[in-house]
């Protein structure tokens, strides 16, 4: 085949240098918000460590209740020894997890602890309560370690799936379940929209708020479409929204978890009495 020559107009260079524009607003607000919604995805996190595989044998609602109980004990404790006890256990569990999970749990926990210490700093500086920032920061740190540890190892779907076993009304469980599923879907769609907008934006955009409103408006419309489709699907299948409760079978891991919770309550009572 002979080589064709390029047309004249194609050989001429047409320099185009679009004016630079900062997309920090889009990145920090819309895209970040959309990515946060994606956290609610229903996938079960991979049990990549031995401790997660062991904890996976404990029913998710029990783990949720356990964390709530521990957080309450830590918050109510006047004797800091209990806080150090729970911290030791939380650090041990964290140390057994992969480095990526450790970073994901530790960063928010340290950030909140630092913020708590800063908020309480005036009490130390002006009122002489030097222990207050340390106490509050430590309690915040332990609480975040427990909560972030749970959220990184249990899917939102699993947590909600077991609510029926705790005697919560089916409507409440269904509403939460649908909300979580739709949040995950909408988060993914909002991320796609924002990324597309970012990639196709050329030149200087003077109306960033309008662009962001466009993305959020589209997400709102899609949310409505999802809700309508969900309602129609339920009508078609004759599904009233009530789900049967899941039967929880006792296991060794579950009994050990209950024993640990009982020990934590016992330690709380003993240490508070010793104060």
């Amino acid at each position: 085949m002979g080589q064709r020559e390029l047309p004249q107009w194609l050989t001429q260079s047409a320099p185009y240098d679009p004016p630079t524009d900062r997309d920090g607003y889009l990145r920090r607000n819309v895209l970040r918000l959309a990515q946060t919604l994606e956290v609610f995805r229903a996938e079960t996190p991979a049990a990549s460590s031995a401790v997660d595989r062991l904890l996976a044998r404990v029913p998710a609602p029990l783990r949720l209740l356990g964390v709530v109980l521990l957080v309450a004990l830590v918050a109510a404790a006047r004797n800091m020894a209990l806080v150090w006890l729970v911290l030791a256990v939380a650090l041990c569990l964290l140390a057994l997890r992969p480095p990526q999970t450790i970073r994901a749990v530790l960063v928010p926990a340290l950030a909140v602890a630092l913020l708590s210490a800063l908020v309480n700093l005036p009490a130390a500086l002006f009122l002489g309560q030097t222990e207050a920032p340390l106490r509050v920061a430590t309690k915040a740190f332990v609480t975040l370690l427990l909560v972030c540890g749970l959220s990184r190892s249990v899917a939102a779907e699993e947590l909600l799936g077991g609510f029926a076993a705790l005697g919560l009304p089916p409507t409440f469980t269904l509403t939460l379940d649908l909300a979580v599923r739709d949040l995950a879907l909408l988060g993914a769609e909002a991320t796609t929209l924002s990324e597309a907008l970012e990639l196709r934006s050329v030149g200087h955009n003077h109306s960033k708020t309008a662009s962001a409103a466009g993305v959020l408006g589209m997400v709102f419309l899609r949310a409505q479409r999802h809700a309508t489709a969900q309602a129609e699907a339920m009508v078609l299948r004759g599904y009233p929204g009530a789900s049967g409760s899941r039967r929880v079978r006792p296991s060794v891991a579950m009994l050990l978890y209950l024993l640990f919770l009982a020990l934590a309550v016992g330690a709380f009572v003993y240490l508070e009495a010793a104060l």
Binding site: N79, M80, A81, W84, L85, L87, A88, L91, C92, L94, A95, P98, P99, Q100, I102, R103, L106, L134, T138, L271, A274, L275
Partner: protein
């Protein structure tokens, strides 16, 4: 051997702290070049051995106490540079969380126990073991390397103590910081370490090295004869760390304070006859868990909990550092 704050003058602390900066930089570069992510992660476990060995106090002649450090052990497993970083992090945790060793004196403590000890220990080991040692010669070299490493570190600490009254005195000629001269500090530090602590260091080094080399040989990278695959893996090593952590209350049996680690209120009764001004009015650090104790908990329980917190912190820190290391062989192959 943990020098508390105010035993050394701030200028001595500063000199030794500044001296450690290029050493840490050199060691970090070497570790980054030599070790992969899995090995850096394992460094946390090795640092845990050092942390635990330092909690096992043994009674020493003269009514004081001492302990092994485990610096040569880590050097034999992962190299002296890795040992320097591991022991430095362990010392920092001990100082900040448990008040064991001074905050201002952290540079001095790292110089003695994280730099001098593992590098001297490894040097002596290499000199004795030669290029192709048999099992017996290797064990003897390890023991002597660990023993000499600890003794030299104690000697350096004794010199740091002993030069204080020569360099820093008030108008009346009284020492401002550590009141004991070289003629007292060197025998006081060296004799107990030569007689007891050095032997403990040597035995612990050989025993733990052999255990790790059998259980997880893939993590023994500094000594060519230890390399290999097989064994029970990391779980066995973690099991040994757990057993040692549970056994740490044995370190409470040794009564008394280590030489050179008395509080400002105790030093007058040790024969000095006065409290040096620099110690009476010096820097004070309120540790979160002072002396490995928790308010309201029995000593033994608090000691075990301290060990657990220390180990967990070390493992977490080195796992986070492993994110910056080069990928380990299987991960690199998969990529």
């Amino acid at each position: 051997m943990h020098i508390p704050d105010n035993y050394l003058s701030p200028s001595t602390d500063a000199v030794l702290g500044v001296a450690m900066v290029p050493i840490w930089g050199y060691c970090a570069k070497k570790v980054h070049d030599k070790l992969d992510a899995k090995q850096v992660s394992f460094l946390g476990m090795a640092a845990a051995f050092s942390f635990l060995l330092m909690m096992f106090n043994v009674p020493l002649p003269g009514g004081t106490t001492g302990h092994a450090v485990g610096g040569t052990l880590i050097a034999l497993l992962l190299g002296p540079e890795a040992a320097c970083l591991a022991v430095s992090v362990a010392l920092a945790i001990q100082a900040v969380i448990f008040g064991d060793g001074g905050i201002l004196a952290l540079g001095a403590n790292c110089f003695n126990m994280a730099f001098v000890l593992p590098f001297v220990g490894m040097l002596v080991y290499r000199a004795i073991a030669g290029t192709e040692p048999n099992a017996t010669r290797r064990r003897v070299a390890m023991f002597i390397g660990a023993y000499v490493g600890l003794a030299v570190a104690a000697l350096v600490a004794a010199i740091e103590f002993g030069i204080q009254p020569l360099l820093f005195t008030d108008a009346a000629g009284q020492a401002l910081y550590c009141p004991y001269p070289l003629s007292v500090s060197i025998p006081a530090m060296l004799i107990p370490h030569l007689l007891v602590a050095g032997v403990v260091e040597g035995v612990a080094t050989v025993a733990i090295y052999e255990f790790v080399a059998n259980a997880a040989p893939e993590y023994v990278v500094a000594t060519p004869e230890g390399r290999g695959n097989g064994g029970g893996g990391l779980a066995w090593v973690a099991g040994l760390v757990a057993v040692l952590a549970v056994a740490t209350p044995l370190g409470l049996i040794a009564q008394g304070t280590a030489w050179g680690e008395w509080g400002a209120d105790e030093i007058a009764e040790t024969g000095a006859g006065f409290v040096p001004a620099g110690m009476a009015n010096g820097f004070e650090w309120s540790a979160v868990m002072p002396d490995y104790s928790f308010g309201g908990l029995p000593d033994a329980v608090a000691y075990i909990l301290s060990a657990v917190v220390g180990i967990a912190c070390l493992v977490i820190i080195f796992k986070l550092l492993s994110l910056a290391a080069k990928p380990s062989a299987p991960a690199a192959a998969a990529a």
